[in-house]
Symmetry: C2
Subunit: 298 residues, 2 copies
């Protein structure tokens, strides 16, 4: 029987998995060191299974080059991690394992995993957002990961900033008070003087955080028209934030979008992801599935 | 030889076209009166060609039901035009002409036309925006019109509103100062006391308008990652607005999105549409092409 390989290539750790899905997945993980050592350990893990391995997927930290016609497709590009800069991660893995290799960003891979096996299963259009050290989003449109010119950089959308209510100027080095600058974990810590996990559930921080997230969700509902929005990441561990965000989203939309998903199903429309810590490696596995399918077609 | 039919179903006029594309298109138009009379005139136009007619497309004023599995698919739904409310426009046309019928919103049809024959030709991902009485957008993602849960309502995204610079509260009955509330033609007229077409090119209105449009474009670049953005509609007839909007977009993105489209090609990245007044009927023609293709497959 054939199996797939998934590589969640993170800046601090690599998670490798082999199997066919959440019920059949063997995982290993190790710290991200030099590219040579890290890829050597990765390849060694998969080589044991190499005669059953049909394809491998990689969900990678970035920035990465996703343009298939580009000479640097499959590279990690201008990362501050110097050893990994301009590293051909897809090429190295493909040469070592000699199977088709799927490739995408870490957040796009997680979005795909939630669509394939998780909280957006069976939905043609959904949005996966992670709110933590940064804010990142992956969109599934008609069953496929949205890429376009580059890939989304959803954390950097502009949202209204009420300076009277919130004088904190924002922490994005590029944009100041973009969404990530106002609502990421570091923004919360800088504004309130405590990490988000240490802020009590009744702290004023959460209503403000829900306001910013709901402003962003309202914009995405009007742009991408997802059938469900999944909110994950460290900041969302404060589960009260879900209810606050749903209420604020309904207030902001103000009855304008009158689909049943919004009017009758807001508890499901804004949900936590289901796959937890395994979303990344499962997303990489789903990329491998897609790569195997493309291999068959071509 | 086969031909296609396109129906631009507008709230004030219907434009019907028959042919195969911009170089081969016979057009007629008439005012939108009662559904019975309007559809009768529409059908009469196409019936002359009925033995060559392969399919018809409709790009319609709305709101419309685009869900293929819905019992009211192909209906104009809760329009304020009472005679047209809950009118089965797709069913009426299909029964009269007995050909496959494609169906979408007017702005999605125009977006499709620009991708098929116009200023976004050959691009897999693009955004078409019309800035006039309202603000509407259609997104092309991987060659297909984005729909999702409903369809985009891009005019209603939230953008930062600097009340010190612009105390005008916005004119959207649902959201006040959403994009449409701040940057549509009626918003310009209410703020400045003159219609946009009567404001001189050096009026302060244009820098503010460019600021709002660029805020929205920055958000869409970070969300949809289009390869080109087309700006049409009455307000964009002030052509100076293109250069102001491009400069403001570059300032807002601040080097964060460093694709060649943005860094070297902003003049093309933000462009006017090419098909002008014919975008709607040509988009309907493109919907007919797609419907014919689906008919062949099914």
């Amino acid at each position: 029987m054939h199996v797939f390989g998934g590589i969640e290539a993170g800046g601090t750790k690599f998670v490798c998995g082999i199997g066919t899905g959440p019920e059949d997945l063997e995982i290993t993980q190790f710290p991200t060191t030099s590219p040579e050592e890290t890829i050597r350990r990765t390849v060694a893990f998969f080589r044991v299974q190499t005669n059953r391995l049909q394809a491998v997927g990689i969900g990678s930290f970035g920035p990465v080059d996703l343009h298939r016609s580009s000479p640097t497709y499959g590279y990690i590009t201008s990362t501050p991690k110097l050893e990994w800069r301009n590293f051909d991660i897809v090429g190295e893995v493909r040469r070592a394992l000699d199977v088709p290799v799927g490739f995408d960003t870490d957040v796009n891979a997680a979005a795909l995993a939630e669509t394939r096996w998780g909280a957006a299963k069976g939905l043609s259009d959904s949005l996966y957002l992670t709110v933590g050290t940064g804010i990142g989003g992956g969109a599934i449109v008609q069953g496929r990961v949205l890429h376009g010119m580059l890939h989304p950089e959803m954390g950097h959308i502009r949202v209204p900033h009420d300076l009277a209510r919130d004088p904190y100027p924002g922490c994005c080095p590029y944009h100041g008070d973009c969404l990530e600058g106002l609502a990421s974990g570091p923004a919360m810590e800088a504004r309130w003087g405590a990490k988000s996990e240490d802020l009590p559930a009744d702290h004023a921080a959460w209503a403000l955080e829900a306001h910013y997230l709901a402003l962003a969700l309202a914009t995405w509902v009007c742009t991408l028209s997802p059938k469900r929005v999944l909110l994950g990441g460290g900041v969302m561990q404060q589960t009260r934030l879900f209810e606050l965000t749903r209420k604020e989203l309904a207030r902001l939309l103000n009855g304008y979008i009158s689909t049943t998903e919004i009017t009758d199903g807001l508890d499901r429309f804004v949900s936590p992801p289901l796959l937890g810590q395994r979303a990344g490696v499962l997303g990489a596995l789903a990329l491998a599935e897609q790569a195997a399918g493309e291999g068959r077609r071509s």
